[in-house]
Amino acid sequence: MHIDWWTLCLQAINVLVLVWILSRFFFKPVAAIVAERRAAIAQALEDARKARVQAEAEQEKAQQAAAAIAASHADVLKKAELEAKAETDAILGSARAAADKLREAAAADIARKRQSDAAALADQASRLAADIAGKLLSRLPDESRITGFVPGLAQGLSELPETVRRGVGAHGAPLRLKAARALTEAETEACHTELSKALGRPVDILVEVAPELIAGLEIDMPHAVVRNNFRADLARIAAALIAPGAKQPELPQSGQEAR
């Protein structure tokens, strides 16, 4: 086997020259542009990473701001809720107070109205009772309108305080005696006797006719009145009925009233 050493040397030189040529015109430029592109891509990735980090920071900031706004919103809502509740309570309180006042006023009006109605009713009833009593008494004997009332009247007079009794018929002044009708002489005498006995001294009486008494008598003094008649009884019964929590009134024998 023959080897051409010239050819071998030339080929070795050729290959080394080709190494230089390809390195100069192929490998270095292409590798450089690839490296440049990789660097650009790396730079772009780095920029993108920075932008992402910045965007994440901005997003976090925005989330914090949103959270702060939400918290502030919640605080404002809570505060407004508390204020609204307080205002509602105040309005409700004032409304309740006003309603209570109105209710009390209405209750007072109702009570007054009821009282006036009851008074009117009692007055009407007393008038009716007086009419009834008058009509019923018209069927009884006429002396029953006077005779039965004399002892009670005398008892009422005797129960007056001593100072009042002492002034009755003093200085010769007659005792004013009202009667439901004109008294007969016998009745006048009976009254004179009983009243003198009650006072413990004789006393003059001056009889006045007062049909509104219906039946009975009444002594009219400057400082006191002694009643023993149907009118007074009816008035007492009506007053007892009108009074709140009134019980069934008892019919009194006679009554005194100081002036």
Binding site: H2, W6, F26
Partner: protein, 232 residues
């Protein structure tokens, strides 16, 4: 057809005879140089189709170097890439009628193997230092020194003979069939030669990577090299 074992000078440059492989190599150098010069004149960041192909080639070479040598491919790219492209171009010149590939002559393959041999030594000394590189021959034991020295020569010799045998045999077969059968019959074998040429170029470049990679590492070359099966 001339025997590939003999070379006839085409002309002489003074005392230097210029043979066919040298002339064909010059043509290949001219074509590759001009083509790559034109192709890389206006490289842009957004590549054209041609630029994308060139970048793909360079990236593939870089990837193979990095995987084989476990090192930065920039330092070895020019040598390994040029060996690959030159062997590939030289092998494929057999497709041109009347042109014998330079790699079908032992002188070209020997030149390539010698370059790889010296590159192995240069890169090994540069990486480990002279003493460090020489120490790798005494691993795992000083007894292995003769074997490692023989291996340094024999593996480059096998590199040379492998390429020569494969390409030369392809040329021979096509020549014989062409002389016996006719014009169109060798076409399938020529198509096969395309594949064979590419495979041989790849194997030569990868083995060069393996040899250099073993030299720049700190362990014995014989323990690191795992040559692929390259029989044709």
């Amino acid at each position: 057809m001339n025997s590939p074992l003999t070379l006839t000078p085409l002309f002489h440059l003074g005392p230097v005879p210029v043979t066919t492989p040298v002339a064909v190599t010059w043509v290949i150098m001219l074509v590759l140089g001009v083509a790559f010069y034109l192709a890389t004149r206006r490289l842009q960041r957004i590549p054209s189709t041609a630029q994308a192909i060139l970048e793909t080639v360079v990236s593939a070479i870089d990837s193979q170097i990095a995987e084989t040598m476990q090192a930065d491919p920039a330092r070895y790219r020019a040598l390994i890439g040029t060996i690959f492209l030159y062997v590939l171009a030289a092998n494929w010149t057999s497709l041109i009628p009347g042109v014998e590939p330079p790699t079908a002559h032992i002188e070209t393959d020997a030149a390539l193997a010698l370059i790889v041999f010296f590159a192995t030594i240069v890169y090994g000394i540069r990486a480990l230092g002279l003493l460090g590189y020489l120490k790798t021959f005494a691993e795992p034991s000083w007894v292995m020194i003769p074997l490692n020295l023989v291996e340094q020569i024999s593996r480059n010799f096998s590199l040379m003979v492998r390429l020569f045998g494969n390409v030369m045999s392809g040329v021979f077969i096509i020549g014989i069939i062409l002389s016996l059968a006719g014009l169109l019959v060798p076409i399938p074998l020529m198509a096969l030669d395309i594949l064979t040429g590419a495979v041989q170029a790849y194997i030569f470049a990868i083995l060069a990577c393996v040899f250099i990679g073993a030299a720049i590492s700190e362990t014995a070359p014989s323990r690191k090299i795992s040559s692929p099966n390259t029989s044709h």
